[in-house]
Amino acid sequence: MTKLINFSNKEVGGAYTQDNFAPVADDAALPEGPVLVSLARFQKERETLLERNTPIGVKLQAGENPELLGDDVNRLSLVALEFPKFRDGRAFSWARMLRTRLGFSGEIRAVGDFLYDQVNYQHRVGFNAWEVPDTFTLEMFNRALTEMTNVYQPSTDGKKTIRELRAGG
């Protein structure tokens, strides 16, 4: 049904990877091992979750600002950002915020309804994992990252801008 692609560096490109995080509904019991919970649940059961000493993932909905995670953000291994409809581009800003202002270095995962054509933008702003339908191949993923060779503006990926390249950077 869905697969998880992660991306660590250009040389390796995108790779299918195991999703170790069990998504847990707000009212379900927490299983052993890494869990992915909603923000509401994390805020409610924060102590319990942090005490378990297993990786925690929080799934943020489009309207949920990552600053709501407070100082806990760097105790998380995964933040999943929801795209309820591909038109809702708030998660691009949330990913950027997580990487820069909040200094998050864990996995930022794109989930929900997004297009192949958004993958490159997602990558630039700090996503490094994508939950994709089975029909979404690695070939497509790697192609998405290479359709546009250069960029005009700086972003979280640190990619050299056209201005820097012009200056001989």
Binding site: R87, G89, F92, R101, D117, V125, M148, N150, I162
Partner: protein, 561 residues
């Protein structure tokens, strides 16, 4: 007819380097791939729509419409000739200049678009981000680089903003479209205060040049005048500041009601003070990070592209005598230029009876010749759907006028009552409720008499075929909004709007008029002005002094005032 001896002139404007060319070329390939995937069904229409919109392609009433970007309204003669060629080859021999200074073709086939884009790329043109929920075309004062009213040419800044906003990874799926205008004078010829964001070049008390940033203006269902976000942003900080505004907008705008998703709604909901505070927070962070700082060398490098042409010296500095018709035209359509012996000439695409803003392929070719012969190869598109030859020698004005007469673009009506802005309306647009072009034609013909036009003076009529306000009716001295009342086209009047530095939103008069009645109603309104004006007052001034009441009484009266 093409004048065979005209030598093409390349104007001083931004030129693509290999990076820009590669960027556009790859974008074309990307879109070609998307078109192919749509045709095979790999992409559904729902998925394809935002992608084609971001390449300027709409599905309209009769066919696809392609909107070509004309950054800050500037075109070279080579580009104009290419537009004429595309009109001939892929469309029905004409194009339409829009209120965002772009060019639209109305009869495009989806399957032709990749090839059209390649042809445009050959002349450094594209359709990137002319639609969609992203940063749109950057518009500017059409007299930029030619007027002595400006602090400096704002177009280098516009070019820098254009590049920064092109395929910005964070801001490509905004809540709604985002329109930016730039200017550099107190006189606002770009309707800055009606934009989502505007940047005005200013000087501070110490004489240093920087930028005033405004945000939250807009037309549409709920018009607003922009608020000042910051009176003075240092040059090197401008991109960081603009990014800060976009970031707050992207993060905090509503996404639940399409009518409440422009930045004007956000700012007017949280208040400009709170908006400034949120922007300041993002801005301070960006400034500390430093990656968006704009070095003076970069500003200088881009500015060099826009260096003024070599103006001749020793030219006669008076407008020649060339008969009364020419004199009438010079009165309205010629403006003061910064260089002695030069002038700025406006080509109004508004000869009464014409479709406002339209030019045929043949007319475009002749205009390209005029550009080469008389205006250093350059033309500007205005947001009032006219063209401007920015650098003409005064002594050439009669010859230019004669050529414009042959083209049927010599109407001496810039800023007058027949210089009407009209959106394509129900004749073309999928969103429209009523036709606007025939109304413009009707009104223009009614007021065709030149003496009468000059007597009336400056009167800006703007017509929109629906509430989306692409005809900018909220900013009309007389604004007309087409509505659908039980399947019949009705036209509502608004009075007292302005898109200039004295920006104001027009006041709705009352119930609409039928197509048969609207020209009469406008005439009765104009007659009130003529009867009650005081010396020196334009229509707008008289309206502001008297208020709606006398105009409304006259408009709804069945007898002429």
């Amino acid at each position: 007819m093409l004048n065979a001896v005209v030598k093409p002139v390349a104007p001083n404007m931004y030129r693509y380097d290999e990076f820009d060319a590669q960027f556009v070329s790859e974008r074309v390939n990307q879109f070609a791939g998307q078109v192919a995937r749509r045709l095979t069904g790999e992409l559904t229409e729902d998925q394809f729509k935002p992608l084609r919109l971001m390449n300027g392609l709409y599905l309209q009433l009769h066919a696809y419409m392609l909107r070509i970007a004309v950054p800050y309204g500037t075109l070279s003669s080579k580009q104009m000739r290419k537009l004429a060629h595309i009109a001939r080859t892929y469309d029905k021999d004409f194009g339409h200049f829009t209120t965002r200074t772009n060019l639209q073709f109305n009869w495009i086939k989806l399957v032709d678009v990749p090839q059209i884009l390649r042809e445009l790329a050959d002349v450094e043109m594209h359709c990137i981000q002319t639609s969609g929920n992203c940063v749109r075309n950057i518009t500017a004062d059409q007299f930029a680089g030619a007027t002595d009213e400006e602090i400096e040419d704002p177009r280098p800044l516009a070019e820098i903003i254009r590049q920064w906003s092109s395929l910005h990874p964070e801001f490509t799926f905004l809540a709604r479209k985002f329109k930016i205008a730039v200017g550099a004078c107190e006189q606002d010829r770009a309707a800055m205060q009606y934009h989502d964001m505007a940047v005005q070049v200013v000087k501070n008390a110490q004489g240093r040049i920087g930028y005033k940033v405004m945000a939250g203006g807009g037309m549409g269902r709920t018009p607003y005048i922009a608020h000042v976000m910051r009176e003075f942003v240092e040059r090197e900080d401008i991109l960081a500041y603009l990014e800060a505004v976009l970031r707050v907008y992207n993060q905090d705008s509503r996404r639940d009601n399409i009518h409440k998703q422009r930045i004007k709604i956000l700012i007017n909901t949280i208040g400009p003070e709170e908006m400034r505070r949120r922007v300041a927070r993002e801005f301070e962070e960006l400034k500390r990070m430093g990656t968006l700082q704009l070095p003076q060398e970069e500003l200088d490098r881009i500015t060099a592209y826009f260096a003024p042409p070599q103006f001749e010296t020793g030219l006669p500095d008076t407008i020649p005598e060339a008969g009364p018709d020419f004199a009438n035209w010079a009165k309205t359509n010629v403006h003061k230029h910064r260089a002695p012996g030069y002038a700025i000439a406006t080509i109004t695409l508004k000869t009464p009876g014409q479709v406002p803003g339209d030019a045929s392929a043949d007319q475009m070719d002749v205009i390209a010749d005029l550009m080469d012969q008389f205006s250093v190869g350059e033309v500007r598109v205005t947001h009032e759907q006219n063209l401007v030859l920015p650098h003409v020698r005064k002594k050439d004005l009669p010859a230019i006028y004669a050529r414009l007469k042959e083209l049927d673009f010599a109407s001496p009506n810039a800023g007058l009552i027949t210089d009407i802005i009209a959106c394509p309306g129900l004749d073309y647009c999928d969103l429209a409720n009523a036709r606007s072009i025939p109304i413009a034609q009707k009104i223009a013909r009614r007021f065709e008499d030149l003496d009468r036009q000059h007597d009336i003076g400056e009167l800006k009529i703007k017509i929109s075929g629906c509430i989306n306000a692409c005809g900018h009716h909220h900013a009309g001295h007389i604004g007309i909004l087409g509505v659908d009342k039980k399947g019949v086209e009705f036209y509502q009047l608004q009075l007292g709007g302005s898109g200039a530095e004295d920006a104001s939103i027009g006041e709705i008069m009352g119930p609409g008029f039928t197509e048969r009645e609207i020209a009469d109603a406008v005439e009765r309104v104009v007659n009130v002005y003529l009867k009650r004006r005081q010396p020196g007052e334009r229509f707008l001034d008289t309206y502001r002094r008297l208020g709606m009441a006398p105009f409304k009484d006259a408009a709804y009266e069945k007898e002429a005032a």
